[in-house]
């Protein structure tokens, strides 16, 4: 199960965050800070898995992250998720953002936080309960004023 999705920039400023377990606003910010400290210390060429954010969940959980340009995408998941699966998921999420904003950059996320959130919405909808089923999500979403088309997904790693 996905416990939280955190997106923040190189300076630890939160750009988009979603928690699927109730935390108070203070705790949420603390989790983001802690996660940022854990993730930002790491070099570019190291693996994308990190054990033990202390605040979220405990020993069963791990952080899986990717770093694109100035943005970190961090997923906090428990042991029922496939590590590679989540990495692919992040990839798809970013690709979807890219399709949506055409050459997505940090500013897009800043100013279109609501739309970015909606891009993630299907992901969230599913992940809120469980992991998402990748080949099924974004195929063709027509929600209100945005329409997103997602090309065929890259094959598994």
């Amino acid at each position: 199960m996905i416990k939280a999705i955190l997106i923040f920039n190189n300076h630890g400023k939160s750009r988009l965050s979603m928690f699927y377990q109730p935390y108070s606003e203070d705790t949420q910010q603390q989790i983001i800070r802690e996660t940022f400290h854990l993730v930002s210390k790491r070099d570019e060429n190291v693996c994308n898995f990190l054990e033990g954010g202390l605040l979220i969940g405990g020993s069963d959980n791990e952080l899986i992250y990717r770093h694109y340009a100035t943005i970190y995408f961090v997923f906090c998941v428990d042991s029922s998720e496939s590590e590679f699966g989540i990495l692919d998921l992040i990839q798809v999420f970013v690709e979807t953002l890219d399709k949506c904003f055409e050459n997505v950059c940090e500013l897009d996320l800043i100013f279109h936080v609501d739309k970015a959130g909606l891009v993630g919405a299907p992901a969230r909808a599913v992940s809120a309960v469980k992991n998402m089923n990748l080949p099924e999500i974004p195929r063709n979403i027509n929600i209100g004023d945005i329409s997103i088309k997602v090309p065929n997904l890259p094959s598994f790693k």
Partner: protein, 1216 residues
Amino acid sequence: MALKMVKGSIDRMFDKNLQDLVRGIRNHKEDEAKYISQCIDEIKQELKQDNIAVKANAVCKLTYLQMLGYDISWAAFNIIEVMSASKFTFKRIGYLAASQSFHEGTDVIMLTTNQIRKDLSSPSQYDTGVALTGLSCFVTPDLARDLANDIMTLMSHTKPYIRKKAVLIMYKVFLKYPESLRPAFPRLKEKLEDPDPGVQSAAVNVICELARRNPKNYLSLAPLFFKLMTSSTNNWVLIKIIKLFGALTPLEPRLGKKLIEPLTNLIHSTSAMSLLYECVNTVIAVLISLSSGMPNHSASIQLCVQKLRILIEDSDQNLKYLGLLAMSKILKTHPKSVQSHKDLILQCLDDKDESIRLRALDLLYGMVSKKNLMEIVKKLMTHVDKAEGTTYRDELLTKIIDICSQSNYQYITNFEWYISILVELTRLEGTRHGHLIAAQMLDVAIRVKAIRKFAVSQMSALLDSAHLLASSTQRNGICEVLYAAAWICGEFSEHLQEPHHTLEAMLRPKVTTLPGHIQAVYVQNVVKLYASILQQKEQAGEAEGAQAVTQLMVDRLPQFVQSADLEVQERASCILQLVKHIQKLQAKDVPVAEEVSALFAGELNPVAPKAQKKVPVPEGLDLDAWINEPLSDSESEDERPRAVFHEEEQRRPKHRPSEADEEELARRREARKQEQANNPFYIKSSPSPQKRYQDTPGVEHIPVVQIDLSVPLKVPGLPMSDQYVKLEEERRHRQKLEKDKRRKKRKEKEKKGKRRHSSLPTESDEDIAPAQQVDIITEEMPENALPSDEDDKDPNDPYRALDIDLDKPLADSEKLPIQKHRNAETSKSPEKDVPVVEKKSKKPKKKEKKHKEKERDKEKKKKEKEKKAEDLDFWLSTTPPPAPAPAPAPVPSTEELSVNAVTAPKDEYEDAKTEVQGEEDDAEGQDQDKKSPKHKKKKHKKEKEERIKGKKKSKKQPPGSEEAAGEPVQNGAPEEEQLPPESSYSLLAENSYVKMACDIRGSLQEDSQVTVAIVLENRSSSILKGMELSVLDSLNARMARPQGSSVHDGVPVPFQLPPGVSNEAQYVFTIQSIVTAQKLKGTLSFIAKNDEGATHEKLDFRLHFSCSSYLITTPCYSDAFAKLLESGDLSMSSVKVDGIRMSFQNLLAKICFHHHFSVVERVDSCASMYSRSIQGHHVCLLVKKGENSVSVDGKCSDSTLLSSLLEEMKATLAKC
């Protein structure tokens, strides 16, 4: 009104939208907080407007602010207003805000119930979708209960988009409202086969998530999942299912057997790394659940290890990391196969990625052996020097200690080397694990007697060196080592080379900067040192020297008396007074040394950390009761540093007045011994303390210890551990040479004095003798220690509530609550006006219901469980199912069967193959017997003729002789040669502790039960107790267990065995089908206790239920026998064994004895025999002896049974 509307929309034009807000925040970097509070004020104004668009915009901005960490709970009601907007874009904003800010404590959440219900049944799928999405984030028990039925209806919605979401959200509903699980489960199971792959995968996800928490309730779904696994091509689904199987296999090892093949196929075929990785993981789980002794699985392990090696060798760090992670799982059960990849793992230690290095370190733990320990630790030590971050360095340090100390120092051959490693580690700056090193030093010095001399010399060097004192400020820092050093030097002061020098080192003024608890140990051990110096000086007759030492003490102790630490102060002032008193005595030329050292006579034994906890509470003692009523809590507890080492507390009683004369002392000793003997809490095992009392305490009485003199004992300065590596190599080389020599001389090699109480010397491949004669003392446990395994289940675990049996049929009461004035069909059409009050009034009723249901559940559970087990057994069984078809499973059973049809025969075939192989080995010569069909026919004819002859003969016999013939031959016929005495007990298993022999007996009263009598013989010098027999049941054979114990529980053996004694225990097994032989695996676990301690041991065995053991010797008269043969409903089969020289008489006796037959008739070298199985099968034999061969023709009402029996007989005869 219209004007108002217009005004509203004009106002709106000047409102900030989200973009403006974001831009504004970015422009006010200096006073962000102020700007935001200003915006919040504006938002509050906007929320007061009637215009829904304004409100939605405001809520949208609030959502953003919430994400930045601002509390928006005050706007909860407005959020609900926006949620109920009719326009989708507004509604969406409302639900998003709700999902982010609502939680169980939000009180207005109960207002949403009807709005959500309305949205769920909305004609627009997006309205429904957004409601489901939002609900998943803020569902509460009340919402779950009220909406469960609506959501369940949506699970069969026409649109897959909705179905998918509805299925997923059911998981959250189950969590909040566990009662809904059973009614909803059948539909959820249907969704596993939904035509839409998205829905299907959602259902898989939900069930996997449920099963992960309470796997045993979902075992019955295994066939369905198995089918999905073999048919699905969706990698996401596959991963989930495979992960689920990983959770199920520990509960049902037979499932694992079934899984191995498809999983290995997947491993071979898939190109997706993620899937490969999960497959490997589950295969590992399967292999762990199966007992490791199965040879045909070594291939799977090899495959896994190979694939993982590929992952680890990959340049992608992620693959490398996960490869190492999975490798460490294999390591736990199959260390051998991982060890061959040592090179690769050591290579990973040099990786630049810290996570990977840590994983590799984990693996190293299991890879050490006696041979490579030094090498590996050397490598780690170089890493310690190189490491930059303190966290990684500390990790390395703890790993080195873990690796070395694992399983009671099993791999350490040279403790001098280990001590010097520990001493080298003390040079680490800024580590936080000083106490760990200290604990190791203490442990080794106390438990390995042979090392004490060396340890003391090292510790005195440590005390002397200044660098440790420098870091004295940090708690838990490296200065903790001084604690150990001081204690060791004091306690084992007799080994000190220059005690005086050490004494001075411990009395330096700088010592007072150390933490209090270390100073306290210093003070205490200074006296010990002092006592031993006094002893030496007095024996040497240097009265002046003795006085000088006393003077030194009197001079230096006051610095401790002034300490701020209470403990130090108290000890120091006590001791100062004592020393001053001694000084007075010394001035009068009274010899004091003996009395002073009597203060520290006796030895401290290591006590197991849990020993205290395991002391049973005496009867009638209530530990929770107040002894005195508690005082008011005004006294604050003294903030004393926690004592790291327990020995400190149980140290010594108060100092005795030293003027007590010898007699007085002796009297007191006697009294104390008496007291100790009577005190159940005084732990005594080794007689050494008493021994030392009897003789005068002196240096010559200390146990003499042999130390390999190839190592210099007096090391100037600090030692280098590296030199030990070289020395060790040389030593091993020498040992090898010596061994070769000895072998040449064919001398009986004496057993080395190596005694390890807890581990049996099983390392046959690496019998490296330790450098010192090492006696590792086991830690002590109190007598009759309680086996206390704490229940570590968290009572607050939210998933516990979902531990629900899903297979029993639904009761009427278990329907999802529906609002009363509607029925389930119409609940789709929305009705707004359901008063909230009504719902509330329903609550208490429901609770009552719940309670009743639970009780009923309990009653039902037993029956249902049995049924469930049968179904699953059927699917898992590898042998043909028993005649009556099992009750139909709740799952559509056709699928089950089809799966069965595909998989079962294969397994059967394999099993059969292995069996055949085994039997072929047993009787090789038999192959000749299988001649061409023609031959056989001829033979048959002959046999028939012969049998008819036999029959005729029997008829000719006078009736009186029949009775005699009916009796077993071995009773009569004394003229034949004597048979060697034989026992019906066959050896089951044995080790150095215990020998197990067993006999299996059937009885006619119980048609499917056999009694297994197991004779246990204690061959060791220990008392064996707490014996437990656990047998892994098979489908066909089950052990009868006491009521209430589960299949995995062991059955206790009802006696204890003192050394040399044997006793018999009987167990009843229930056998369903007796037509084939079978083996059951089992383990005998027991505690072997002798003077030196107790160890927990195990002995594996295999119970072989041969078909013969199901037979019962039954006499039969020849006419009844003839009738039986004539009846024609017996099938027949025959075997022939060549090369038999035993007399026919003995041969028959053997068959009677081993296979429970009785002789009906015997004519010359031909005999007819009869027996009956416990299930009433008749077995008739015709045994004929030729020149050098014996042929056995058999007839039996069950052909399988007959052929099994004949095979067994063949094996017996082949041995003759």
